[in-house]
Subunit: 311 residues, 2 copies
């Protein structure tokens, strides 16, 4: 399929074309930038819901319920499961993604798992672009799921309009939940498995955490097992989308800026690797003071051609 064929089919919500476009972008295949040139002028109106939480918090089965609820509303959906890659344990976390398979035959539910290979420690650049491809295909809602480990969790904020943090009544370690940087990015707290003892306490604990701040947290108890709270959560997400429209817009602007900055940084890193003299300086050769080495590298990159676009 050529780019010229891919684009119109993508816009008509053709899953095959979408899957192909994602692979093209994910693997940085020839012409992927031309494809992107074609999608950015398209209208993008999808609500992007980020979902994070520790492994075992029941994110995937909650997402299944959310999918069912959103499908009842006749909406066109995509789920993007982002896997943090770790040399030892990474792959194993992908397993529970397969539970969503009950929706996998529905042409209006596009599901894709991607590995997160961003070498700055956060989401890889292609994650942003894949979300943009999903938007261009005319999805109404895009769910971006990530596992609660490290920087990719914090970075989900860069691609989502609203961030849900899934916790459980029995997640004992407060530090884990309230650890620096994570709680601040959550817009909505979901106390999942609320059929277990301690759900009310957990809700109170979250409210308590914010008691001294000026923020009134949105907290929703849900139970996938007893099918409770899902409708309320979906309504809460919509309400957030309406009442916080200004904040979401500001966030989208910041999101785009940080994404562009990341591309610039990746290009500079690439240029440093490709220029032998810069690479030597980067290895600490010929200049003992790292500050001075950095200055000399920047001079070399300004003179050199490695910054040049390649396609």
């Amino acid at each position: 399929m050529k780019i010229s064929e891919l684009l119109p089919r993508l816009q008509q919500n053709d899953s095959l074309a979408l899957a192909k476009a994602i692979s093209l972008v994910e693997n940085r295949r020839k012409d992927y930038k031309r494809l992107l040139d074609g999608i950015y002028p398209l209208p993008r109106t999808a609500l992007k819901i980020g979902i994070t939480g520790a492994p075992g918090s029941g994110k995937s089965s909650l997402i299944e319920k959310l999918i069912a609820g959103l499908r009842e509303q006749g909406l066109n959906l995509a789920v993007l499961a982002v896997d943090p890659s770790s040399p030892l344990s990474g792959g194993a976390l992908l397993g529970d993604r397969l539970r969503m398979i009950q929706h996998s035959n529905d042409p209006r539910v596009f599901i894709r798992s991607i590995a997160n290979r961003g070498h700055l420690g956060g989401l890889s650049l292609s994650t942003h672009e894949i979300v943009d491809l999903l938007q261009a295909s005319g999805k109404d809602v895009i769910i971006i799921e990530t596992v609660g480990v490290g920087q990719s969790e914090v970075d989900i904020v860069n691609v989502a309009d609203v961030v849900l943090m899934v916790i459980n009544p029995d997640s004992g370690d407060e530090i884990q939940i309230f650890k620096a940087g994570i709680i601040e990015i959550a817009d909505i707290f979901v106390v999942n498995k609320s059929d277990l003892a301690g759900a009310d306490n957990k809700v109170a604990e979250i409210r308590n955490y914010f008691a001294l701040s000026d923020r009134d947290p949105l907290v929703f108890p849900t139970s996938v097992k007893e099918d409770r709270g899902i409708r309320e959560l979906l309504a809460g997400i919509r309400r957030f989308q309406e009442t916080e429209a200004g904040r979401i817009r500001d966030k989208a602007a910041r999101m785009k800026a940080s994404y562009i900055e990341k591309i610039v940084i990746e290009r500079v890193q690439e240029a440093m690797r490709l220029d032998p003299a810069a690479a030597a300086l980067a290895r600490g050769e010929g200049e003992g003071n790292p500050q001075r080495a950095a200055e000399r590298i920047l001079e070399l990159l300004k003179k050199g051609g490695a910054h040049d676009k390649k396609n």
Copy 2:
């Protein structure tokens, strides 16, 4: 104190000069680069021990014991406590640092807390430079402590020769301990509070985790309360330093390279902010495709003077 006075006093292990030099570098004061020019040619032989672990795992009191043991060996020490900054919870974690105060009158134990303000999510650049200042002052051992939250924990590997991960017999959540990216950076596992029930199990659990890999983990049980295992741990660290000398050297080289790269990136980010046309493109103005916007920014930065060194 002038730079020319600061340098010789710093080399003579003058704590006042060292404190002043650190402030100069931390706050990016005038002439800090000239100070750095002076320190990089100096010999650096300190063993850098990184210590990480969840809040409450007893890192600080363990460090007190390590300090006492190292002082018995007549060594010259520095402890650098790195605080991850978080808008809501950051400052509070600093409190337990004060417990080390029993050594604070010892002129051979230099203790400093620094906030981590790195805007790439990891350790701030000045952390690397402060470690280099401590090295230049002729310390034999530098202990770098960080709290086990997010990227700063992973980044400690960039400044330490050997990374200790402190866990407890009762740290229930395996996921927390074995979470992606953290366990891989630890060279030595310390099961602290080994007077509590379950210490043997925890040691076995760690060995078990690595059973399928080709790595034989170093695990040391310690009890600050009962003063057990500290000597063995110190001996284990020395043994690691000897047997893994090659690996430590390779790591130091990678460390330096990543540090230089970080400086380059910070400069590029700064240049993007300072060049109005680049800043507009970075905000997504005038170019819808982020890939193309990044290319145009790079062209602007190559032409512009914003890359130029300032002092």
